[in-house]
Symmetry: D2
Subunit: 296 residues, 4 copies
C-alpha cells in the first residue's frame, strides 16, 4: 500500500489539514502516536499504512505537523528518520512551529541529500485548518515553494515565500512576538481609558482610525462586549491560547539570544504571559491578559 502524500502528526491541526488534502483528491497516508487519530483520517478517506519507512520511500510528499523542535528533529533525523528513507527529489513540508535555527539546519541537511524541504508554519489555528483557510509562511528555495503550492493551496488560502530555509519560521516568530506585544499594549490602553470613564467601544472606534490602529484592536478586541464574536465576549474561550503564545514568545526570546538582538518589550511580554499562565489561565485566549490588568 502506498500514497502520494505521507502526513505525520494528526493532532488538532494536522488531522484537518490532512483531511483537506484527501478532499482535494490526493491519496494520503497518516501517522500519529495515537492510533485513534489515524483511524479518524482513514474514516475521512485516508489510507491506512503499516510501515512509516516504507511509506516515506514510496511517497512524493511528506508533511509534518508536530508540537516542537525536538519532535521534528526526532522524525527527520536518525537511522529511522525521514531523511534516511526518502528518495531523492521527495518534497518535505514541515508545518510545525519550531526554532528558525533548527529549520535552517534541517533544510540544509535535506538539500545535501537531494531532498527539497520547506519550512511552512501556519497561522489561522484549528478553525482555519478545518476551513482550509490557513496562511502559510514558507522558507526554502523558489523551486521548493513552487513544488509545494498545489499541496498548500488545498489547505490554505494565503501563501508567502519569505526567503531561504528557516525564513518561514522566522516570519512566524517575528509576527507572533509583535502580536503578543500589541495584545498587551492594546489591553493596557483600553484599561487606562476605561479607568478614566471612557466607553471601550468609543475608544476602540477612535483608535482604530488613528495611529494606534492594529489588527488585534480591530479583529479580536480583548475587552468583553466590544466585539460579540471575539473570544473576549465569550469568556476568552476558543481563540489563541496563552500557552501557545507563550511557546512562540519563548522561540522569539531564544532566537534573540542566539542572534544577539535586543527585544525589551518581547522579553517582558513573554514574562507577562508566563505569570498569567502560572496563575492558571494557560488555556484561555491570550486576550485574557486584559483581565489580569483589571482583576478585583
Amino acid at each position: 500500500m502506498s500514497a502520494e502524500v505521507v502526513f505525520i502528526g494528526l493532532g488538532n491541526m494536522g488531522l484537518p489539514m490532512a483531511t483537506n488534502l484527501v478532499r482535494g483528491g490526493l491519496t494520503v497516508m497518516g501517522f500519529d502516536l495515537v492510533a485513534e487519530n489515524v483511524s479518524k483520517l482513514v474514516a475521512e478517506g485516508g489510507v491506512q499504512g503499516a510501515s512509516l519507512a516504507d511509506a516515506v520511500r514510496q511517497a512524493k510528499v511528506v508533511c509534518t505537523m508536530l508540537p516542537a523542535s525536538q519532535h521534528v528533529q526526532g522524525v527527520y533525523l536518525g537511522e529511522d528518520g525521514v531523511f534516511a528513507h526518502a528518495r531523492p527529489g521527495t518534497l518535505l513540508i514541515d508545518s510545525s512551529t519550531i526554532a528558525p535555527d533548527v529549520a535552517r539546519q534541517l533544510g540544509q541537511l535535506a538539500a545535501e541529500r537531494g531532498l527539497e524541504m520547506i519550512d511552512a508554519p501556519v497561522s489561522g489555528g484549528p478553525v482555519g485548518a478545518k476551513a482550509g483557510t490557513l496562511t502559510f509562511m514558507v522558507g526554502g528555495t523558489a523551486k521548493g515553494f513552487d513544488l509545494a503550492q498545489p499541496y498548500l493551496q488545498k489547505m490554505g488560502k494565503a501563501l508567502y515565500h519569505a526567503g531561504e530555509h528557516g525564513s518561514g519560521q522566522t516570519v512566524k516568530v517575528c509576527n507572533n512576538m509583535l502580536l503578543g506585544i500589541i495584545m498587551i499594549g492594546t489591553a493596557e490602553a483600553l484599561q487606562l481609558g476605561m479607568a478614566n470613564g471612557l466607553d471601550p467601544k468609543v475608544l476602540t472606534e477612535i483608535i482604530s482610525k488613528s495611529s494606534g490602529s492594529n489588527w488585534v484592536l480591530n479583529n479580536c478586541n480583548p475587552c468583553p462586549g466590544v466585539m460579540p464574536a471575539a473570544p473576549a465576549s465569550n469568556g476568552y474561550a476558543g481563540g489563541f491560547g496563552v500557552d501557545l503564545m507563550l511557546k512562540d514568545l519563548g522561540l522569539a526570546v531564544e532566537n534573540a539570544l542566539s542572534t544577539r538582538c535586543s527585544v525589551p518589550l518581547g522579553a517582558l511580554a513573554r514574562n507577562v504571559y508566563d505569570l498569567h499562565s502560572k496563575a492558571g489561565n494557560g488555556k484561555l485566549d491570550y486576550g485574557s491578559v486584559f483581565e489580569m490588568l483589571s482583576k478585583q
Copy 2:
C-alpha cells in the same frame, strides 16, 4: 478692536491652526509670548490686539494651543485668566495635550461659570496643522462638541466626540501610549527578522497581511529603505519627535498612577524612549529607536 476668535499660543502648531481659521473667513486675534509669532498671524490676516482681557471679554470663541498642563492652567485660571474675563456662553477650545485630570477639572470649573469648554487635542503634527487635516479628539458636552464643529472643521478633517470633559485627552493619551509601544515592538520584530537574514521589505509585506499588522508598520516603517517617504528613510528627520513621544508617555504613566492602572509595557516604553533621548536623540523621529536596537 475685537475679534470673533481669540487664539492663544502661536507656536509651530498654533500659528498654522489660527491661520486656517483666518482663511476660513473668521476674524482671529492672536496672542503669544513671542511678539514675532503674533506678527506672523497678522501678516496672514489676523487682527492685532492690545489687551488679552479685553479680547476675551468680546470674543465668541477662545482657542488655546500650549505646551503643557501648567501653561494651560496659567492661562485659564487666576485673577487675570480666561475664566475671569469670558462672558457666559463663550466657547473655550483647548487643543493642547495635557493631563486628563487637569482637563477634567478645567471643564468642570468652566461649566460652573456658564462657559462651554471642550478639550480637543489633535494628531497630525505641524504638517497636518498647515494642511488643515488634523484629527480632533474631543471631550465635553454634546452641545460643546456641536458648537465647536464649524471651527474645528476649518482646522481639521476628522472630529471625534469621545465623551465628557477630559475624554479627548484620555483618548490621546491611550492612543499615543499604544503607538509608542507598537513602534518599539515593530522595531524589535524587524531587527529580529533581519538578524535571521530576512529582507525587511518582504517581512513588512507579510506581517502587514497577518495578525501583527499595525499602523506604524504600514505607514511609518522604522527600518530605513522600506518606505522611501518615511522619516526612517530620511535620517529620521521630520515625523514625531522622541521627546514629544516621551511627553505623551509621561502623561500616560502619570495617569496610570492616579487611576491605579497596570501599564507594564507602557512604562517600559517610556523608559526606552527616555534612554534613547538621554543618548542625544530627542529631536529625531521616534522610529529611530530602531537604530538604538542595532547600533554597532
Copy 3:
C-alpha cells in the same frame, strides 16, 4: 489645657510613636479623625485636647503621621492649618511618607513663616514603632535636625540627616524603590535555582557570601522555610505589605517623571507589585511575589 507636643495622626504607626513620647516624659496631646484612637493615647497618659488650633498655638513641637501627600497638605496649609496657627520657632516634624516635591514645598513655606520644619519619614514598620527602634531619614536644616533629635530619639534608634528640605523623603523613596527591585530579583533567583534542583537554603547561603548578597536575601528571605521567623515562613503575614510597597514605588515613579529620570527596573517593579495586588494579595508581605512567580 496645653502640651509640649501635638501629635496629629494616631494610626497603627502614629499611636505607638506618640505613646513612646509620653513614656519619654513629655506631655503629648493627640488628634485623629477617629475619636477612639485619641482615647487610646489618653489611656497611655496623653492629654485630651479640644481645639487643634489652640493646641498648635501653645505647642513647642507638632508631629504628623498621615497616609499621603494630600492629607499632609490638608493639615499644614489653609486657613485652619498648622502653618496659620503655629508660633514662630515651633518645630514641625512630618513623619508621613509623601512626595519629595511636596515635602520640599512645605519646608520652604514653613521657613518663610519662621517655622522649623523637617521631613522625617521612617522605616521599621509598626513593630519598630512600638519598640521605639524606628530609623528616621531627615530632610531640613542642620538646626532643625538638632532640635528634633531629643524627640526622635524617644521614637527611634537610628537618625540620619540626609540634606535639605525633602531629602528625608528622597532617601526613603530611593531606598524603597531599590528594596522593591531587589525583592523581586531575589525571588527570581531563588525560583530559578529551585527549578534547577537546588536547595534554597544552600543557594541563599552561597549567594549571601557572594556578589549577589543583599539585605532582603539575608533578613527577610521570600522563600518559605529558609528563615523560620520571616513572613515567608508564616504565610506572608506581617511584614511590609504589597500595597505599601506599591505606594512607595508610585512615589518613586512619579518623582522620576518630574525629574526626568530613567527607572526601567523601578517602573517594572511597580507594575509587578500592582499585578500582584490586583490578584488579591495587597495585604500580604511584599515577599509574596515569590509565590506569584511559582503558582501552579
Copy 4:
C-alpha cells in the same frame, strides 16, 4: 613526558589559575589554541606537552577554563575528547561558565564512564585568579568535591558545594542574574537621589544601613567619586565587563526558558545591558549603566 594535572584553556583566567597550581608544587601541562599562552605557562614552571590525548591518559586531574558551552562540549566529547582518553577515576574539573543543562549532561556522561567530574565555575575575575582568591561554586558528588579540594584551594579561598552535577553553574547563573539586576537598580536609585539634590555619598551611606543595602552599593558603587578604588571612579576601567555580564544574563534567560521560570527583571536587565553594549560600551565595567541613565 607526563603531568599530574592537565590544564586546557590558558586565557586571562586559565593562565593565572594554572600558574597557581604550579606554584602549589604540582606538575601542570597546559594546552591552548594560542601557542604563546602555553609558553607563558612553561615560563612559570609548567610542563610542555605534545599530545593532548597522551597527556589526558596519564593525568590524575584535568582542568578546563573555556569561553562557552560549545567549547566545553568540544573538548570533552567526540572521538578525540577528554572522555575518550581519560582513565577511569580521573578527576575532571570544569571551571568555565556554561549552561547548567550542559554541565548536568556532561557530569552524567562522565559518571557513566567512571570519571569523577565537577562543574566549578568561579567568581573573582582575573584579579582573583592571579591572587589565588577565587570563589568556587561546585556541582557534583560529595566525593568529587572532596577529591577536588586540594586543587581548588591552590587557586581560590572559598569553596562551596552547591549540589549535584550542574549545581555550580546554577548557583553562578542565579547569583549573577541577581547581581546584574541589583547593579541597575542601585544605579537608578542613586540617579534618582541626585536628581533631587542629594549627595550620592550621603545617600550611599544611609541606604547601606537600611533595607536597600547590597554588595554592589557597598563594594563597587557605580557613581563616580563615591568609592575611589571602584571602577566607577576610574572611567569604568577594569572590573566586570558589560559583555561578560551580558553573557551570564543570557545563560540565565536561556535557563529560565527551558525550566519555564518567570524572570521579568532578569530579562529586562539583559536587554538593558544589551542596549548599553550596542551603544559601544561592552568592554567597560558593568557599573557604567549608571552613565547610560544620565547621559547628556
